[in-house]
């Protein structure tokens, strides 16, 4: 009898996640929906976001978000994938045991501290070295790359290590060198994991808030940046900055919640792609 009650209680607790996600979606949609009454075309493709004039075109914000996210990901991939290859294949054990935990520690590193670092070091450096405002796309790239790096390194490394030793042995036995083996055998087999780490990193980069907010400048009127040295405004920073003064119940507040829905949707799609890529990668070996 008691056993049954316990099982029931555990089951109900397990349902809580479903309810939370459902509530999040419901409340966000309810608050965001009125913004679409202005016309969905003006909302999604409008070029001006000017709350005091009741203009809520999110196109420049979305484009800026992707510009910042993709650049950051490219930087993170350029450092992270070679690092993952080294850690998985060539690194002595002691070095690996030192590097991997420290990189993984960056995953939860307080983003506001990273933002403070960006604001006092990176922004000043960019301003002195390249001119301009300093608070710009470039600073956003570097800061976000630091935040994305641990995801890329950690997941890529796991997937490279998951390639069976037999494949490597076969390749080496055929006379291939270590690097040839890495390029022709290990990387193709680890491809789906590496790809998944990149998409996941992208999701994190798009959803990241504080660190980005503090270094990208956030001009009053968002625009599409034409150079890496221009300040921009991304989805997350717009929400956090403006929600503090948007009048509750105004169209402005609804538009900010609609931005939240867009952000949610973008990240959900990226996460779904990650899952799909990982699942397909488990299909077996021998794919080209």
């Amino acid at each position: 009898m008691g056993e049954k009650i316990v099982e029931r209680a555990l089951f109900v607790s397990a349902l809580s996640s479903i309810f939370i996600v459902f509530f999040i979606l419901a409340f966000l949609l309810k608050e965001g929906f009125p913004a679409l009454t202005l016309g969905w075309r003006e909302f999604f493709f409008g070029m001006t976001w000017h709350p005091s004039h009741d203009q809520f075109g999110i196109f420049p914000i979305v484009v800026s978000t992707f510009v910042v996210g993709i650049g950051a990901l490219a930087l993170a991939a350029a450092v992270g994938i070679p690092a993952a290859i080294y850690l998985a294949e060539f690194s002595p054990d002691w070095l690996r045991n030192l590097v991997k935990p420290s990189v993984e520690m960056l995953v939860g590193f307080p983003s506001v501290v990273l933002g403070l670092f960006g604001l006092t070091v990176l922004v000043v450096f960019v301003r002195d070295a390249f001119g301009g405002w300093g608070e710009c796309v470039l600073a956003g790239w570097v800061i976000l790359a630091i935040m994305t790096l641990p995801h890329v390194v950690s997941i890529s490394e796991d997937s490279i290590r998951a390639v069976p030793n037999g494949y490597k042995e076969a390749s080496l036995a055929l006379g291939a060198t270590q690097l040839q083996t890495v390029r022709k055998v290990i990387l193709p087999n680890a491809r789906s994991g590496i790809l998944a780490s990149l998409v996941l990193g992208m999701g994190n980069a798009v959803g990241e808030t504080m660190a980005v907010l503090m270094v990208v400048g956030n001009p009053n009127i968002p625009w599409i940046p034409l150079s890496a040295l221009e300040p921009v405004r991304v989805l997350t920073s717009t929400i956090v900055i403006e929600i503090s003064y948007a009048v509750w119940g105004s169209m402005h507040q609804h538009a900010l919640f609609a931005l939240g829905v867009v952000l949610f949707a973008v990240v959900a799609v990226l996460n779904a792609v990650t899952t799909a890529v990982i699942r397909r990668g488990k299909g077996g070996w021998g794919r080209d």
Binding site: L28, G108, S111, M210, L263
Partner: protein, 284 residues
């Protein structure tokens, strides 16, 4: 010979990339330490803040602890129960699969969206106001998936034979789970909780929207009081205090914050390394 040399050069390049990733963490922590250490003194740790340039961060430190406590009180029991259900009871059916799916969904939601939800649902709809309760619960929503995942992983590493031995002695299923499975999974579960705690300690966006403005000079007396927290305090000082006094306070507070974060992460990693010892055959 030439090929060998090239191989070594490429390997050095790969090694450099790996070292860069560590260097980033070291530079970050080092920079915060050197700029923050000067601001740390007993008055800074034990007084209340006054405007941007005066006083200390005592209410912020206490507030951060309170927020994390509320968050863990919500997320750990719920997460653990979910994990036990998924690992020990659930049949592979539609309900179980959707629970898993929604846990993953929740894990993927950006923190600012959780903050927005906290604002509209906890602060306005449920009427909790901008308070310790709202902030703690919103943080709890955020780390719930992490506690579920970590607990489930830990529970799954307990060998089946342990359960069989216990059941063979006539012990009931729930007693087996409590006495055998959870006891053996405890280090893994604690690791997960510590990692989640590290995440909650440093989270800014959620707390900024639901818990308070960061510069509160009082301690929370009840769950419905607004609380200051270290991340929001740092954010306010860094973006709105334009004096060197404010900036040095921001670094001091950052140092305290990352000390809290690094300690909980370090404990978690040590515990995990003791717990799981993976071995892999090396062929070169």
């Amino acid at each position: 010979m030439c090929v060998r040399v090239r191989e070594e050069v490429v390997k050095l390049g790969l090694c450099a990339a790996a070292l860069v990733s560590v260097a980033v963490l070291l530079v970050l922590v080092g920079y915060i330490f050197f700029n923050g250490a000067g601001a740390i003194n007993p008055a800074f740790l034990l007084e209340s803040p006054y405007r941007f340039e005066h006083g200390g961060i005592f209410p912020q430190v206490v507030g951060t602890f309170c927020l994390v406590a509320v968050c863990l009180l919500f997320a750990v029991p719920l997460g653990l129960a979910t994990a036990i259900y998924l690992a020990e009871y659930a049949a592979d059916n539609l309900v179980t699969r959707s629970v898993r799916f929604f846990v993953e969904c929740l894990a993927g939601i950006p923190s600012v969206v959780i903050g927005l939800f906290g604002l509209v649902f906890l602060v306005y709809f449920l009427g909790f106001g901008v308070s310790l309760l709202s902030g703690g619960l919103a943080l709890g929503f955020m780390i719930l998936p992490w506690t579920v995942r970590a607990s489930e992983e830990a529970i799954k590493t307990v060998p089946y034979s342990y359960r069989e031995a216990s059941l063979a002695l006539g012990v009931s299923k729930w007693q087996t789970i409590r006495g055998v499975v959870l006891r053996n999974a405890a280090p893994g579960i604690i690791t997960g909780v510590l990692l989640g705690m590290g995440k909650a300690v440093g989270e800014t966006a959620v707390v900024l929207l639901t818990a308070g403005s960061g510069l509160e000079s009082f301690l929370p007396r009840s769950l419905s009081d607004p609380v200051g927290s270290l991340p929001v305090y740092i954010f306010m000082l860094a973006t709105q205090g334009h004096t060197s006094a404010a900036s040095s306070r921001a670094f001091g507070a950052s140092l305290v914050l990352i000390a809290m974060f690094l300690l909980s992460s370090l404990f978690a990693l040590l515990l995990r390394n003791r717990f799981v010892r993976r071995k892999r055959r090396k062929i070169w």
